[in-house]
Amino acid sequence: MEVFLKAFITALELILNFDISLYEIVGLSLQISITSLLIASIIGFPIGVFLAITQFSGRSFIISIFNSLMGMPPVVVGLIVYLLVSRSGPLGWLEILYTPYAMIFAQLLLILPIIISLSTQIFEELHKEYKDFFIIFSVPPKKSIIIYISDSKDSLITIFLAGFGRAVSEVGAVIIVGGNIDHVTRVMTTTIALETSKGDLPLALALGIILIFISLIINIIANKLKIKINKESSL
């Protein structure tokens, strides 16, 4: 139990002392995860709408694939991205291995299936309600995509949070493609792994506490946003 107490004190000390390296690490974590989340959303939501409103053979098979990809081990994603962006790989000319860009790439692959699968489900429900309406007023498909996305904002926030949680908390992929290089690709989770391996368990746990704390703040903000959206739509 002593470790927990020590970890808690260390966490408070790190936050209150404005430890620069801590802020650098936290900043990089957020920057990478939010960027990959936004890119995944831009790609994922339209695919989700498409899968929800169109009927074609093989559709349910594609949905099953995305569903199962949600459980893809991060280490495997890391390995795939590593082989792609390695200097000897097909995307080696990009020279992004051991940079934040490779980490964004890996996280994008990790959270894209989450965004697609969950949003497909939500849009499917919405589609059942709106389908007839759209046919009667002959709303063009492009317009309907926008309506679907804007009318399910509050559910999409939940998807955002699920995607963000997966991105910010995983370590297996980013440690392979980022290399955990000091001041370049060191994020919260890789630091925790590093400190654990150095045997500095209180410091590792303290960083874990800070990570949870940040997630909590983000969730509170998201919930506030959700309440606001619900109020607006009920007016």
């Binding site: 920057q31 939010i34 960027t35 936004l38 890119i39 831009i42 390695s86 200097r87 000897s88 790989g89 080696g92 020279e95 291995l97 051991y98 940079t99 934040p100 860009y101 964004i104 290399g179 955990n180 290089i181 000091d182 001041h183 370049v184 590093l194 654990t196 391996s197 150095k198 045997g199 500095d200 368990l201």
Partner: protein, 270 residues
């Protein structure tokens, strides 16, 4: 609030702008033992101050470091498994192998020493005692330099541990730190390099039980990645860095690095 797609794109670009892009840096593949001991945090700023050249360190096990370098994901390699390093050079991946520095391996174990190895006269004798007693021994099991050394030591002692894997002989497949954490929990024996051991913070009831044997030498070698195999490699800067490490000045800096008053690495460039 962000409303249009173009605004989102601008937002993403702004978000990803501040990433430092490190063109022209040296990419060094090295071992966790050198990195975790703080050696690079000490030596790299000295080198940067002198030359302005930045070095990025990726710390993995020796086996993986060599694999990564074979994939050209390195400009310079500093590892500790001599025969593998020589094979790397023979296969044309590296230019030449240089001795850089050394320290030694130590056998760690529970302070009450149930297998009574602290009185052993040789490494073979110590391993024999652990083997006979069948006390928990934690192996890296990850093809790292330390793991290779350990397997070699069992071979030299003519002991076949393969039958005991999963029983008292436990292979973690992890780095030195993780392996030491497990050894701490299980109060077990393990082989570690001295630098990692000195800087390791979760020692609990473990201590060094056997050391100072000529068979426990831990030699680090440095190899430049061959630009003929890897055209993208930053050979110019890497040469400057390697030559500096091997120079009197670099070697002297290695000698001066101490943790808790103890010297961690002994320079021995030829």
């Amino acid at each position: 609030m962000i409303k249009t797609n173009s605004e989102i794109f601008i937002f993403i670009i702004i978000l990803s702008l501040p990433f430092k892009i490190w063109g022209g840096d040296i990419l060094l593949q090295s071992t966790t033992s050198t990195k975790n001991s703080g050696f690079y945090n000490y030596i790299l700023p000295i080198f940067k101050k002198k030359t302005g050249i930045n070095v990025k360190v990726v710390a993995v096990g020796t086996g993986q470091a060599i694999k990564n370098a074979e994939n050209c994901d390195a400009d310079l390699l500093i590892v500790h498994a001599k025969s593998d390093e020589e094979a790397f050079v023979t296969n044309g991946h590296g230019i030449k192998r240089h001795n850089l520095m050394y320290n030694d391996f130590v056998i760690i174990g529970p302070s009450n020493d149930p297998a009574n190895i602290s009185e052993s006269k040789s490494t073979e004798e110590a391993l024999n005692s652990i083997f006979e007693f069948g006390h928990n021994f934690i192996s890296r099991g990850d093809n790292s330099g330390t793991h290779k050394k350990e397997k070699k030591l069992w071979d030299t002692a003519k002991l076949d541990i393969s039958d005991y894997s999963g029983k008292w002989y436990k292979e973690t497949g992890s780095g030195m730190g993780t392996t030491l954490n497990i050894a701490s929990e299980l109060n077990a024996y393990t082989l570690s390099d001295r630098a990692t051991w000195i800087t390791f913070k979760n020692k609990q009831k473990l201590e060094i039980l056997f050391d100072n044997d000529k068979n426990l030498l831990n030699q680090y070698g440095a190899i430049l990645v061959n630009p003929k195999k890897c055209p993208y490699t930053n050979i110019e800067d890497s040469k400057v860095f390697l030559n500096w490490l091997l120079s009197d000045e670099g070697q002297n800096m290695i000698k001066k690095y101490k943790v808790n008053g103890m010297q961690l690495f002994y320079p021995n460039a030829d």
